[in-house]
């Protein structure tokens, strides 16, 4: 009678089974179970970085894909991100101690003139859920605010959000200012918001337009990987 009602004892599972189960638990947004799983893997001698990438980030990737594909929606994704954060809280101090590579840091805000922040908030939550550090600048950000924060925080990514057709052109102001100051290539610039599209992202010189929070996470991971590769290649 190995049916689904059997109580699952996480500590009795093999490593592989446990990681599989943790991915399922992330999918279902079960925070306490994720915290328990993280602690078990650590007790078994897993490096904190491996717990992060092989269990949590891998699990959130599935959540992100299903969000992108219209299988999961915001409520489920927020629950999953919340469970992920529970695991991250345990791992964060250990990651710092062990000098594990950072996922990356993002400063994010809605652009000057735009007060619509729900999309930006979702991106923040998903990015944190994926292990990124996020500095949220809130709404209505002038170019100076983005650039000061990016420099102060030594950010990898600048994220800009706009919901209005009247405010999205401001993204170009920010990017043009970065070019003038010769710092455009110091950052990955991601833009998003309901009225935007890829064509607009290209036209204003952003690195990428991100359709939703899940795509933002995937895109950010891609660009950070490329950045690490370039650094490794001495480029």
């Amino acid at each position: 009678m190995a049916d689904n009602d059997d109580e699952i004892i996480l500590s009795e599972l093999s490593d592989d089974e446990l990681v599989q189960q943790m991915m399922d638990d992330l999918y279902d947004g079960l925070k306490e179970e994720i915290e328990e799983g993280v602690n078990i893997l650590l007790e078994r001698g897993w490096a904190p970085y491996d717990v992060l990438t092989k269990a949590l980030v891998a699990g959130m990737t599935i959540v992100g894909h299903d969000f992108r594909d219209g299988i999961l929606f915001v409520p489920e994704v927020l629950l999953a991100a919340n469970a992920m954060k529970g695991g991250m809280a345990i791992l964060k101090p250990l990651l710092a101690e062990t000098g594990a590579p950072r996922m990356g840091k993002m400063v994010i805000g809605t652009v000057k003139g735009d007060i619509h922040d729900i999309g930006k908030n979702l991106v923040s939550m998903m990015m944190e859920g994926a292990g990124f550090e996020v500095v949220d600048l809130g709404i209505n950000n002038a170019v100076e605010k983005y650039l000061e924060a990016a420099a102060r925080e030594e950010a990898d990514i600048i994220g800009m959000s706009a919901l209005l057709t009247t405010t999205m052109p401001y993204m170009k102001v920010v990017i043009d200012t970065m070019k003038e100051q010769g710092i455009r290539d110091d950052y990955i610039v991601l833009v998003g918001g309901a009225p935007l599209n890829e064509e607009f992202g290209r036209a204003i010189g952003a690195d990428a337009y991100c359709r939703d929070a899940a795509v933002t996470v995937e895109t950010a991971k891609d660009f950070i990987k490329r950045k690490h590769n370039q650094l490794a290649a001495g480029g």
Binding site: D3, N4, I8, Q20, D24, D25, Y27, D28, L30, E33, D66, D69, G70, I71, L72, F73, V74, P75, E76, L78, L79, N82, K112, G113, D114, I115, H116, D117, I118, N121, I139, N140, L164, T165, T166, T167, M168, P169, A194, P195, N197, E199, F200, A203, D212
Partner: protein, 336 residues
């Protein structure tokens, strides 16, 4: 049937609602980032012009300039103490215009979302949401709104909180959600789920439906879902005038008055009782919609293919109501 909207609905086959508020106000010089609601006090003549634009173009219903007039949104501009005042004046200005129209015109008090995520995922509790919506509703009622018009909602929890506030204020109400994510609301609600939800409310709306979202075609696919659910409550369709396009450094909505006229006729033929526009819909669009509704004969209920042919394709293959949407095979689960 004592309220003005129910009386009009009893008399008429279809009613024309209004178009965009934001797009019109930006054209009158509203700076982005500035909350439109402050103009009720600072630029009342421009708000009268906005209202008059809809009435003169033939709208039977128009919405007050109070979409972001709840404490949560106004707090972003440190105007959270002015909820009652800004909503009351939004409605008072509207009352003047409606009463001078020379025909019955319904003044609908616009109530938009709080912009916050509701508990347990977010921090906004049900009681706090009800209180915020109630405060706004009382202001709109005091200023003379005939009906509350709750719009662009994504979360069922927020829709229910707004309904409860309408009940507390003793106001008839309408409520629309925005279906912008693979044919569902951002929070995953399908058209069929919304149809079922409104009937479970203690004080169901006079009419329910969809506004904003993606383009006019998607909006009518959502309406098709409402119709298929068998719910006979009057349906509202307030779609965007096409999709915003970035061209030569400017952004414009690609829906022409002709396209919106087609949209209005298709909506009526689907059985929609209250037809209007949302973002990008200007008085010229409304005039074209009115003329088409008055002159083109009623046709058969259009199919999804016909809608896509006339208005452009849909943004996703499925809207979650046909069982054709993507799914994931799950292993054994802990619960369920």
């Amino acid at each position: 049937m004592s309220d003005a909207l129910s009386r009009l609905l009893a008399d008429r086959d279809w009613l024309l609602a209004d178009g965009a508020t934001g797009t019109n106000l930006f054209n009158m010089g509203l700076e982005s980032g500035e909350p439109p609601e402050l103009w009720n006090v600072d630029e009342p003549e421009k708000i009268r012009t906005l209202y008059r634009g809809a009435v003169e173009a033939g709208s039977d219903i128009f919405l007050t300039n109070s979409f972001g007039g709840n404490a949560s949104r106004l707090k972003l501009h440190n105007a959270q103490d002015r909820v009652r005042e800004l909503n009351r004046i939004a409605a008072e200005l509207g009352r003047e215009i409606a009463d001078k129209a020379g025909r019955p015109v319904v003044l609908a008090g616009s109530v938009g979302p709080t912009g916050e995520i509701m508990a347990p995922m977010g921090s906004l509790t049900h009681n706090a949401a009800v209180e915020m919506f109630h405060e706004q509703a009382e202001g709109l009622k005091e200023g003379g709104a005939d009906v509350l018009w709750i719009e662009t909602i994504s979360a069922p929890e927020e829709y229910k909180a707004a309904a409860e506030a309408a009940d507390l204020a003793g106001m008839p109400w309408c409520g629309t959600m925005s279906f912008d994510t693979a044919g569902r609301t951002m929070m995953g609600v399908t058209s069929a789920q919304m149809s079922a939800m409104v009937e479970k409310l203690k004080n169901p709306p006079v009419a329910y439906g969809a506004n904003c979202g993606v383009g006019a075609a998607d909006l009518l696919r959502t309406v098709t879902g409402f119709v298929a659910s068998g719910n006979e409550r009057p349906i509202i369709a307030k779609g965007n005038a096409g999709i915003p396009r970035f061209q030569d450094g400017h952004i414009h909505y690609d829906g022409t008055p002709d396209l919106m006229a087609d949209y209005a006729v298709l909506a009526r033929d689907l059985g929609v009782r209250i037809i209007g526009g949302c973002c990008g819909t200007m008085p010229d669009h409304l005039r074209a919609m009115r003329e088409a509704l008055e002159t083109r004969p009623r046709g058969e209920r259009p199919t999804l293919d016909e809608i896509a042919t006339k208005l452009g394709g849909f943004s996703s293959a499925s809207d979650g109501t046909d069982g054709e949407g993507p799914t994931r095979e799950r292993r054994g689960r802990r619960r369920g």
